[in-house]
């Protein structure tokens, strides 16, 4: 890994954490999903570093809880989905994926409860969170639709500059 990669990963992780903390006061409105989708589309595998730096920092900021173990895999699930569907470029398509991730967030987070407390406990946890999942899905859809094109433009521009500098003799 080159020093430039380390810097880029560090910066993008910092943006992710800042955005999460900054929008923390709005329940279920977040930019993290949209940003992870974009990072994965543009950076590919390096996004995994960003995701786990983000997860560790979240743990440091808010303290470790059961939610933190969810974070260990939910974002990676999103990463894998994006990697699978990376041929698509339409913002609407990614907005739908982001919305679907928002809807499924509660279901993904209830997995530990299914394991620790059995099916009734997990199902109760999931059902209790459905209103939040619905808000999360709608907000993710709208947010991604709004930010996808401008953010992609900025990131591509930055990355192309980085590439040309890297190839300079």
């Amino acid at each position: 890994m080159k020093i430039k990669d380390i810097v880029i990963i560090g910066m993008l992780s910092a943006i992710l954490v800042t955005v999460q903390v900054g929008l923390g006061f709005l329940p279920n409105v977040e930019l993290v999903s949209a940003l992870i989708i974009l990072y994965t589309l543009i950076l590919g595998r390096k996004t995994l570093y960003i995701i786990y730096i983000f997860v560790v920092l979240e743990g440091v900021i808010y303290g470790l809880g059961l939610w933190w173990f969810n974070y260990l895999y939910v974002w990676t699930v999103l990463y894998l989905i994006v990697r699978l569907l990376r041929k698509n470029s339409l913002p609407l398509f990614w907005a739908v994926i982001s919305g679907a991730f928002g809807l499924g967030f509660g279901a993904l987070c209830s997995i530990p409860y299914f394991i620790t407390g059995g099916i009734p406990s997990g199902a109760a946890y999931w059902v209790a969170g459905i209103p939040f999942d619905l808000i999360h899905g709608v907000s993710n859809f709208i947010v991604t639709l709004l930010v996808f094109i401008p953010f992609q433009y900025i990131m591509k521009k930055m990355m192309s500059r980085y590439d040309t500098q890297a190839n300079r003799p």
Partner: protein
């Protein structure tokens, strides 16, 4: 081969025209660089005509001016061919975009369907409330202190209403629901990461106090916990 000229328009080398028009040099037409993105239906006949002109000029059967005129006509055809080709490519791109858009719209439809199913599931499975009077016991547990039991008689449907009726709790209404800050005069200290955890007969309650329904004979515990 001649050095590639920068003055190359529509696939025909323009500097050669100048040679023809001025007639200063012996005419030496060579095959120009026909650009790849010209419709093959135009490119092929144009290429043949180009060769013909070259041969005829070699033999001296046509005048330089006639050859020049033919070449200008030829370049015009090449220009049109290139435009057609580009338009076709654009059309193909549009068609691909439309296909992607259709796919995205279908995905959006599926998403809405899932959302509706989730809404129905929520309404079906959400905790049901009970009407009428009930008697519940609330146990307040603070570490290193003896726990206190409170028996509440109420008509309230949700736990928070019953607790507020007895002035047992103080809370803030947040976007996430009621957030209990103080129970029986004991406030949870944010800076020490203290919070109030509600359990029902020892089991975790997944709903907030304002969404937890109560039934006659229920036993709730409110415990002061440290660390999120």
């Amino acid at each position: 081969m001649p050095v590639r000229s920068r003055r190359c328009i529509w696939g025909v080398r323009f500097d050669k025209f100048l040679v023809i028009i001025t007639g200063l040099e012996q005419i030496n037409l060579r095959l120009g660089r026909f650009e790849a993105n010209v419709d093959p239906r135009v490119r092929r006949p144009a290429y043949i005509r180009y060769q013909q002109l070259h041969e005829e000029l070699d033999k001296g059967t046509i005048k330089k001016v006639t050859a020049c005129r033919s070449l200008i006509l030829l370049s015009f055809f090449l220009f049109v061919g290139k435009r057609i080709f580009l338009l076709q490519q654009k059309g193909e791109r549009n068609m691909k975009n439309n296909k992607n858009l259709l796919k995205a719209m279908m995905a959006l439809g599926a998403l809405l369907l899932v959302a509706v199913i989730m809404l129905v599931a929520y309404n079906h499975f959400k905790p049901q409330t009970e009407q009428g009077s009930k008697e519940i016991v609330v146990e307040v547990v603070v570490p290193d202190q003896e726990s206190k039991d409170f028996t509440i008689n109420t008509d309230a449907e949700y736990l928070s209403q019953a607790l507020e009726q007895e002035n047992l709790i103080i809370g803030q209404n947040s976007d996430y629901g009621l957030f209990i800050t103080e129970v029986n005069g004991r406030a949870a200290d944010d800076t020490k990461q203290e919070w109030w955890c509600i359990t029902k007969s020892g089991e975790t309650v997944n709903t907030g106090a304002d969404q937890t329904p109560i039934a006659d004979g229920d036993h709730f515990e409110i415990t002061l916990k440290t660390g999120y």
